[in-house]
Structure formats: C-alpha cells, structure tokens
Assembly symmetry: D2
Homo-oligomer: 361 residues x 4
C-alpha cells in the first residue's frame, strides 16, 4: 500500500536506500522447483551496474547479490525468496554539503514534503539504485518464462537525444543489443548516439532517450480486461522506473493521425486454430489482452537531473543558493535502463500468466 510492492501473484517487495546498509527484494509466489542460484541473477545485474562502460557513471558498484531464503538444494521451494546486495560504495560524505539543498528535478523536495524527513545521502530511497532489486527479481521471472513458456523479453535503445535508429524488431536478438555499449542494434545510429553521449558528458550535461521493449512468445489470452489490461500494467511498470515520462504501445501517439481503415489489423488464419493479424498496430495487445503477436512498446526517459552546470535553487528552508553538482552520474540513462525495462516486462508477464492460469486453465 506504501508502494513498495509490485505484482499480484508473482509479487516483489523491494527495500533499501542508496547509502543504507543494503538494497534487496522479496520475491513471493514463485513456483516451486525452478533451478536457481546467484549465477542466474548476477549477469543481469552486471548489465545494469554503474561503471560498466565509458558512457556510464564512473562509480564502481559491484552489486553482488546473495539468496537468503526460498531456495533449497538449488531449487525454489515456493516460499519467499529474499535477495540482497550490500551497499559497498558508501561515500556519504560526498553528499554532506547537499544537506538541505534541493537539487532541481530530483525528489529531494517532494520527499521532504511527503514525509517531513529525508535521507539526503545520494537520493535515499528515490535513488535509481532501487532498480537493482527489480533487475534481480526480474532475472527469476525471465528464467521461468524462458524455461517454461519460451517467452523472451528484450529491450534496446531506440533513440538517444534526437538520434533515432531502425531495427527489425521481429528478428532482434540479445546479442545484437549487447554488441555495443549504448545497446542500440543499429550500428550506424549507435555510433552517433555514443558520440552524442560523450559530447553531452564532456559538456557536463545530460540527455534523454527512448528504450523499446519487446516481448516474444506470449500466447493469446494474457491480461485482465477493464483495469488490469496488459498494456495498462506494462505502462505502470515502465512509468514506475526512475526518469520515465512516457509510454506508448503499438502505434502509440503516431496512431492518433491514422484512420481506422489503415490502423485496424486484419485477421487471417494460419491454420484452423491459429489466427493471426497481418499488421500489428495493436502492439500485441487488444482489449487489454495479448493477441499472440509480438508485444512492443516505447519508453521515454528524460535527461538525467544531475548535471555539472551551476544551477539556481533553494534550501529546504526556502533560502536561495547555487548548486554545482559534483556527484558521479550518468550522462544518459538509457543503456543501463535496458535490463530494467526487460525485468519489469518479465515481472508483468509472469504475474499475468499466473493470474490467467488461476481463473481460466
């Protein structure tokens, strides 16, 4: 109810601040019998961690995960799985001079207004470090989906600043995504994007981007009509990620300008029991329920709020001050957001699979 849990049947509850003792998650409702060790989780965390390339923050965080419960002799038991990563890079003294200074477009002000108290060390609970817990939990969901249902969640950087890319979504593989440090499978666009991020970084500034999420192999029938539409739950999942300002599925905002006669996806039958659509403007979801086609959506990330430029701001007391941030942050968040988008996708799909199974199978 206080907003730290996600999912109904495959349910995660995260905890921890950027500079407290640890960050972690309880995964509740995982089916029993899944083979699971830390080695299934760590690679996903390594794709998210800071310091992984020249265009991410130079902060070093190893983000080493350990399983504290719910696994016995290498298999899940059906009981809660607690995953924990200790905070190792606790240079909270870096932040001492920020005490009381409200950083523009950070959550300092809103947390103070909400709670009347605020952990000012590195954004506290509002830190993107919380997403570590999501990626760890998502790794379990991804493994289960892959092994039991042959469902694959993928994501890639589609746009950085004003540089777009062209990608064949149907054929995309994770290897292509991982082939460069910006995680854009269009190699030409990727080069330009990397150059842009470097330029922005050297200017002490930041830039936004778009991550495209893909979910392949989802059978028709997932999603609950009315409020818990599959697209609504995917949207909420993505909009809950730090710095996200927009979400669209299928034709999205561009579909607004289309006529129904162009936008409708005609049905045809591959064989008697396999009905497909010739186009996929729906993005794989109609009436809130998966169609069996590829699910694809776009997620807009704003430019990172921490910049090196001097900014006008105030203290909690309302006194005007100037702020020159000297923290170690990413000039562009999208390459590291790719595994987060995948994790949230997997959590939504597995939750809806279990919900569908409960009522309808």
């Amino acid at each position: 109810m206080a907003g730290n849990s996600f999912g109904e049947l495959f349910r995660i509850s995260t905890f921890g601040e950027s500079h407290g003792g640890s960050v972690g998650v309880i995964v509740d409702g995982c089916p029993p019998g899944l083979a699971l060790t830390e080695a299934d989780i760590q690679p996903e965390l390594d794709r998210r961690r800071p310091g992984q390339s020249a265009i991410t923050t130079p902060r070093k965080e190893t983000d080493e995960i350990s399983i504290h419960s719910g696994v016995f002799e290498g298999r899940t038991t059906g009981t809660p799985i607690m995953l924990l990563a200790k905070n190792k890079d606790m240079r909270s003294e870096d932040y001492h001079d920020l005490l009381g200074v409200l950083r523009p477009s950070h959550a300092d002000h809103t947390y103070s207004e909400k709670y009347g108290i605020r952990d000012w060390r590195g954004s506290g609970r509002a830190s993107a470090r919380e997403t570590l817990a999501r990626v760890a939990a998502g790794a379990i969901a991804k493994k289960y989906l892959r092994e039991q249902y042959q469902i694959e969640t993928l994501a890639y950087v589609e746009q950085t600043g004003d540089i777009s890319s062209v990608v064949d979504r149907e054929q995309l593989s994770q290897e292509q995504v991982e082939s460069n440090i910006i995680r854009c499978p269009d190699q030409e666009a990727a080069k330009e994007m990397i150059a842009l991020v470097e330029e922005v970084r050297d200017a002490g500034d930041s830039i936004g981007g778009v991550v495209c999420g893909l979910i392949r192999g989802v059978p028709a029938g997932l999603g609950e009509p009315v409020f818990d539409k599959l697209n609504a739950d995917l949207g909420k999942a993505m909009l809950s990620i730090n710095a996200v300002k927009g979400f669209e599925i299928g034709s999205g905002f561009a579909g607004v300008e289309m006529r129904g006669s162009e936008h409708n996806d005609p049905f045809y039958a591959v064989e008697k029991n396999t009905i497909r659509t010739r186009t996929n403007n729906a993005g794989g979801v109609t009436g809130g329920i998966s169609t069996g086609e590829l699910i694809y959506f776009r997620v807009a990330f704003k430019p990172v709020s921490t910049i090196q430029h001097e900014q006008e701001t105030v203290t909690t007391e309302g006194e005007s001050v100037k702020l020159s941030a000297a923290g170690r942050h990413d000039p562009c968040v999208v390459p590291r957001a790719v595994p987060i988008v995948e994790a949230m996708s997997a959590l939504v799909i597995l939750d809806h699979l279990l919900r569908h199974k409960a009522q309808n199978q």
Copy 2:
C-alpha cells in the same frame, strides 16, 4: 484480481456488459458525510453518453443512474455505494450476424482466446459502455476533491487526427472546454477538428486523437515512491481506458531530446514554506510524488475500430469472411473521452490522498 477493481483505499469495482441487464459500480471506502444524490452524478454521465452531438454515435442511451446503497438521508455513510444504470437500448439482434465473426482490432478474438466463451453482443464486457461506471464513480471523487481540497480535474481535446491546438493550461476552465462539441478550447482548431470528424464520418471511417488531462490544486506530497508513483498510477488509469495507446506526462516523449540543463525545473521560494519551480517539465510529479505544480499529461486514442468499410477477417473457426459493419458508432472517440479522463484522474488523486493521509498525517 480479475481486473475489475481500481484503487486501494477509494476503490471501485465495476460490472456489466453492453447488452446485459445493467452496468454499474461499487464505490468502497468513500468518506462518510459527503452530500450525494443522483443529481451530482448524472451531469457527468450526460457528457459521456452517446448521441450527445452530431459528431458522436447516433445511438440513444439515456444512462440514467440510481444509487442503491451507502447513502442515507442525502449523505454518504462510509459503507459501499452501489450505482447502477439499466441497459435500455438492447437491440442485440443488430449483432446476431456478427456471431463468430472476429471484428478487426476489437477484443472479440482475445476474449475468445482468454475465456473460451464470449458475449458477442456489442463487445460484451469489452464495450466502452463499461466506462459509464467509471464516470459515475469519478463524479463522487470529483465532488469530494472539489469540496474538501479545492482540487479540480479537467481534460480537453488537444489533437484530432493531425490537427493540433494551442491552449493556456494554467487558465483553462471547464466552460471553455464545453463551449463546442469536440471539447477543444482553441476555437479555431475546434472548427477544423469538427470538420475533419465529419469528413471521416461521411467516409465511413474513423480517426484518433489526443486528450490532455489537467489536475489543479494538488498539494505537494501525493504519490507513493517506487512502484505506485503518482505518474505510474495516472498512466495505468489512462491506459486502462478503451482505445488508449499512449500516455506521457510533462515533457513526455519530447523531453527525450532535451538536455538536463534545459529540462531541469529550477526551484524558487514564493515564501518560506512555499517552494515552487520556474518551469514545469516534470508535469507536476517528481520522483513519483506531486510537486504542488499543475499536473498535466497527454493520452493517445487510436481511431475507433468499427468502420463502415468492408474488411477482410475470419470467424472464430478460422474461416475467411468479409465484414461490413453496420453498427452505430463514433467516428472519433475523444470528445466523449474527456469526462472519462477526468473521472480516472479524480479516482487516482483521491485514492492517493487517502493513502497519504493514512501514513503521513
């Protein structure tokens, strides 16, 4: 869990199909003592109902609402409020020839796949008639917010097809929105939009649009960090409305191309305890929590799927057929979507107000 409820503390549960006995909603968790009669609800339903103008479907539905419980001597008692509207226009024979035919981009196929059974009369539960229940429940939330907190929810048509408008969001009033039948307060744009919708209608086609939602007077501090961010819950609320394909808040997708130094919203102090921002790229929400500035967001609606053109499709059995729809539908959904967007906004804000109060006040 089956997706027919929305909200945690101010919680609505809707029921009913387009051609069953009735459509309605239980509103649970409403604070006691609110003056309430059907007259507080009916005007909102009249803004949503079909047949209200030349550019909506000619179907006549009176959508008369009645209160069945939870109100005593004109005031809410704190117990569940059940609101019900009978289905009067039950011409289900209109749909008899559709039996088994999967209408492109409707939910016929996905419902069949999910449940193995489908109420084929006028889309059944997937019908937009379900939104009547949301608007009725939202009318209660709107009244409470207005009377107890001076919070106002507004929405207007910002775009229809490729025709955009220019609107001063800070000054907008509901009178301006209601001044024309397309509900776009930019009168020049409104004329063009109406002409476009008429052209599309006469061509037997449909067109999409964008509704902009505004929430005025929200104090700083609402929204739960991490998963139940205020923007994530608003996004889910909007994406759960029929035909919605995208949601963005504040700078949204356009913010992607901005630099942090442009995008950040600088703080200043109006007086000691009133901290505001000079710009509002955040759209009124930072770190998932309201900032105290105007909340604004954009919602993309696809073109209506029912068109008069002949379309290729298949039956449930996979047999190819041609479909010429002859139902009575809207050429463009956005004018009638305006009260739905407002209702969903009010439900989200009131729910978060109660959640915030429980923990933090």
Copy 3:
C-alpha cells in the same frame, strides 16, 4: 480496504443495507463456462431467509435474487457476476422510535463512533441481511466445487444453549441436516433444542448456539503457509459473520489439555501415494495446509441482541432511556446460520484452490 470484499482470486464484494434499495454482491474471478441461473442460487437463499419456520423471525422476506451480469446464454463468461435482491419489506417506520437510542450489544454505538453518521433503519449495513449476499455468492462457489472437484461443504447445529448433540461427521448428509427446523441431525437433541428455542422465544429472550462446519473432499495441499493458513482464513471467514464470538478447528480448545503423544495424528499409507492419518485432531489442516482428511470446525454464536425485555440504555447524546424492542427477530440464530457457514466455507476453499493452482500446478 474498507472491509466489504472477501477473497483474493475468487473475490466477492457486497453492498446494501437492510432498508436501503437493495442488497447484493459482485463475484469477481469466477472461472468461465460454469452453467449458472438464478435457480442454482435461490434454494440456498431460501435456507437462510427469515420466516422459514416457527422458530425464526416472522418477518417475511422473499429474498429473490437476479443475475445482472457475467452470465451469457446460461454460462459464466469470466467477467464480474452481479447478484441483486431488492429490499421488499421496507417498514422503516418500525424503527423511527429507535432514532438516537443505542440498542445494547448492537452496532449502533460503534457505527456512530466510527462514521459520525448512521443509517438507523434496522441496523443499516450492520444488519444480518448482508449475509444474504454471502449466501448468494457462496452458492456459485459451492456449485463449482461440487462439479469440478467433488468437494462438499456442509454445516449443522451442534449445540443450542446448553443442549449438545452427537453426530457422525464422516457420514453426515445434507438431507439429515435439513430433516428438522433447527438443522441438527441428532433427532433427539433436535427436539430438545427446538423446545428450548420456543421457551426462550416465549420468554421474549434469545439464546446462543454452535454451528459445526464440515468440508469433505478437499485434496491435500490447499492453504498458504504463514499468514494465509487455511485455518486462519476459515477462522476469519467465520468470525466475520454477525454474532460469532469463537472459532476452533479440530481438537480446538479441548486439545489444550491433551499431551502431544495423544494429540499427534499418526500417518499410515493406504497405498503408495495416499498417505492418511489414523486420527484427525488436526481437523484436516496441518501447518496451515489441508491434509486430505475431513476439515471440521466449530463456530460459536452469541444470543441475538434483540430481545423483548425492557433494557437500560442511553441515546447517542448520552441520555438515559429505557428500551423495549418490538422488532421481529430470531430467538436463536443458528438454524439460519447453517447456510451462511457453508457459503463462507465454499468461498474460502475455492479461493485457495485457485491460489494453489496459480503457483503450484
């Protein structure tokens, strides 16, 4: 959250007051394809309704139920099923003189304290008339359990006042329960109980009783460990029924005096994969999970609070008054409680079946 819903996956939400327009329930999450008409529900309501025999209240309420949604061509569609019974016997003038008078051991005082407002007609929302909605929803659960899983829920009156009965729980049938108006299958005890209730009724007083609930055919494995133990959810279900003051399962309070060596239920194998216990002190649940043995539990009902005796009390304003109730009420609630206990049992078991299926099958 306001306490009007029960169940997680098979979830009911009730509404209505004793003298408002209607009483009803939304059943959400019902599996699709179940054959269902009002005739499946009405017989259960008839077992609960007032005026059914010489030892219940003479009020006449027909409690006629109608299905408003979620059923198409005689089968459930998987969407919300709304069931409604209109309030026909609205003699609220009977209650006008009670306005402001707090009836001892009724909820008048606590509702006033909670909400600051109170529907004083016939107990309002606190009326046992709300249980009509539970019985209606429970009838659906009972039908599904019987047809799909051969699970049967039964209940009977085990004790009335100080008169106990002896019943062979393993062999009990519903016919035996229904063979007399007190619903006690021990015919000798039943006669004494009926005489006691008549005596109490003629004295203008009331008396309590114990209902024993039985659930037959539950496979091993239902129930969620830790907080949502099957016994804990059954206990909550029963304690949520009006006038219930106690719940015990298996050996219950009597088990307190036993030694572990007597109380433990020894295992034996009927065949390789069918492990059973020689005794059943557990009452069919161990570690919160069903064992496969008969589930049995006892529910204590206090004497009805409405009596004909003159009582000392106060008004809402704290003024001393004398109260002589003249309402038409039951001298003993247990015969009419039998179908309520069965309904709540069925709701708990079906909900746990779906939960178990989602995670573990």
Copy 4:
C-alpha cells in the same frame, strides 16, 4: 498472495526458513518520524527466544536483529524497514536422518503435497522460527501505538494443560506477566503450571495451553464492518500462529449458553460524550468495531508435535517407519507464545488505526 504478508496499510512481509541463511521481515507503511533503533526491538525478541528458561527448549539462538533500511539518523523515514536476523545455530545435520520421514502433526506431509519439494531442515518455512520476524515487526507497531495513542498490548498464559488461572484483566501489568517463567500472573497457578511442564518434559511429552490477549486503550471506532471486522482480523492473526487451534473473543464459546438478557452489555454515559458498557461480554468489539472497552480474547495452543516418544509414521514414499525424535524442542509453547500474541495484536490494531484514519478522520 502466497500468504507471506499481513496487514493492509501497516504491512509486513516475512521471509526465511529455520536453517537457511536468515529470517527477516519488511515492514512497509510505517509512519515517518518514529525514533527507532535495534534496542527497541531486541527485548521483545529476547522474550520469544529459545533457551530463555528451564521450561523452554535448550536450543541457544541469540536472534540478534539488525535494521537494514528505512531508518535514517535514528528515525523512520516512511520507506520500507527491513529487519534481519541471521541463523546461527545451523546444525542441520541433526535433521539428516529425518529426510523423507513424515513427522506426525508436523507440516512435512502437507508441504510436500503442496509444493512437491520440501526443505526438511528443522521444518523449513513451517518452523516457528518465522515468528521471530513477526515479533520484530510487532515491536515497531507496539512502540508506535504506545507513544502516539497510549495503546498497550498485553498477553499472559491463562491455562496450561488443565490448570487454569484467575487474573484481573483490567489491572494486569507486564511486570506481573514477566514475574515468572511460565508468564502466568496468578502465582499459585503459575507454580502448578511450571511443575506440570517439567513433568511433561521429563516424560518426553508435550502439553497445550491458552494465552489470553488484552488490548487496552483502543478508542471506539476501529475495525471495518462486514469482512474485516476487528475480531475477524484478530482471529486470523492468532490462528496464523503455529500450533493455534482456537480463538474466542469476549464471552466466546461460553456465551453460547447465555440468554440475550444476560449477555447484552448495557450502555451508560460517564459523561455526555463518553458512553460505556456496564459489562463487557463483547470483549471490546461490537459489529466488528471497537467499543472503547478492554479488548480481550483467548487463543488455544495444541501440544507441541515434537515429542521423545517413539511414533509410528511413514516416509514420503509411503513406507512404514518408527520415529524417535531427538530434536531440542519446547515441552509447552505458551510462555514463548506470549510475545507473539502481543506482536500480532499490535500489528492488527495499528493497521486498523491507519485504515480508520484514511477514511474517517
């Protein structure tokens, strides 16, 4: 949904097995600003821990708790509080010979049936070691209730085997409860109880008991009518504790034999706005809502299932075997159950306080 969380607004989620890495809990929804250190929690754990006296299990577990998140500079921040105790006494080799043997009246069989896999070391998740997490979370709730609302939760051993006690509930203090090792404030009865437990222990057997819970200072108005009645939620909380077989509030099962004219609690006015009852057969809750009187209830614990006697049983494969337990267990669980009952009481009351505040204040 998998049953490892409790509460709606003040919500705890526990994790951990008796012999895995650790046992712990996330407390979500705690109001911000509460002064909190490990020293507020540890004393409650010390009352629960094994090895605390001659009549508990000789196992030594220090149960040292640490706070991992949600507290900053000694105060709660409103974000999730994760509490963790490492498992130190990991003699899982003690249990190696139990592999495959189903211990009578333990959850070995039911867990195997449910999950198809089972952590057999010391009962795994079904171990009473999980209650450590409840007591830790409950210590936070108790502190908040005491400091903000002057509400006190108490419990004591009322009965052990067939030895009952006489206690003045209105005047009882925690000092009296803690004055002897069985935690029964009736000193004469306590001596007999201790002698009984020693006799049972020496015979290699076990015995049950009754814990009485008291909650003092609860204002009128807490509890949600219908399903989430305060007594129903207290009942569920208690029935979710390991080994509990019964719950009764106020007059409970004894009230069954009373007439309404004896059982009803007459109202009187202390002063205009303070209405009280002359008797308290209700146990402090009427219509599911607190009356303002002392809340009291009784909880029945069965005899511990682990005994030294040789028992007949079977293996998971259905093979007959004899079992002589040699584990180190309690002969009687009630003295250590006292802080658990208090903790669960505090969790229920604080949750309902926040729920009431959200809707009604």
